[in-house]
Symmetry: C2
């Protein structure tokens, strides 16, 4: 993006700097920086495609700075036409992914149906598992649930190693999901 | 994404394989493979966020296989509220980006206003240039224009080197934009 008048560009800093993390920072620092950046970005717009795209980028580069082997970070959104039964692919970082998922089945579909975070240390042991990427070994899916209990989609992160996510990683993802619910209009 | 019933998963192949290009393939082969994969994916759904997210991934990994120094590949979409005056950030691959752009100014805004592809060999020489990422040196922006001349957004690709895109690269991006217009409902 090159423009003389990006509405949300401020001062001499570049937006991309928000996804540039110090390799010497601690995990706590990196997650805190990513969440602060997300909140600052989201407060400019409630357009969910913009905010989920930037959130995917922040998660991706935070995990990269931490040398975690995350191979996919992104979102599935409840279908506008069939919000109770189908999730559709949203913004993400990583390789090409399945476009739609039935709510109630699989890791993403279960997170959406139960409104509970799913932590899967070994996707091969997940009942009826089929992956978008055969290299994925572990996964976390956090549902995007509003205060009234309505589900709007899921945040999905995949890793190339077994048991790739700690409790701290899951807490970070749940905080990111909470910011998304606070700032986005679905 | 791990699911027992991804609607669009077929056979034993994985969706991610569509973004895995052979490093020994020619540029022509890689672009042809990426466009074929895009058409196959897009024909499953007309939901623009899904298709633009997968298109960004295909472009990103095609450029990576070609060892091009592309640092951002994605989309801006006409604002649903102000479609004549504002572009909003859509799905992308790369670092965090500006959320909104005024139509008519900057490279993206000019592409949307003129309905013509903008090839910028040196972004520093572009009038009034402000970048989302200070490391970007060159850029191509292709408008997403339907048969009636309506603009729905732009495809935007940034590169870390000056004059980073050849005529063949631009043709590939214009073909991707044409597929998006054919298959997406905006």
């Amino acid at each position: 993006m090159t423009t003389s008048d990006a509405d949300s560009h401020s001062g001499s800093a570049h937006h991309a700097d928000a996804a540039t993390f110090s390799a010497s920072a601690t995990k706590s620092d990196i997650y805190s920086t990513a969440l602060d950046a997300a909140e600052a970005l989201f407060s400019d717009t409630n357009f969910w495609p913009s905010n989920l795209a930037n959130a995917a980028s922040l998660m991706w580069y935070a995990f990269e700075a931490l040398e975690m082997k995350v191979n996919w970070a992104g979102f599935y959104i409840c279908s506008p036409d069939e919000p109770k039964s189908k999730l559709l692919l949203g913004p993400f970082m990583g390789k090409v992914a399945c476009q739609s998922i039935v709510i109630g089945s699989g890791v993403c579909g279960t997170a959406a149906a139960t409104r509970e975070t799913q932590v899967v240390p070994d996707v091969e042991k997940y009942p009826g598992h089929i992956a978008c990427d055969g290299e994925t070994k572990s996964e976390v899916v956090v549902p995007l649930v509003d205060r009234e209990g309505g589900v709007h989609g899921v945040l999905d992160v995949d890793c190339l190693v077994l048991d790739g996510f700690t409790e701290d990683d899951v807490k970070f993802l749940e905080k990111m999901a909470a910011l998304i619910i606070t700032f986005c209009k679905f």
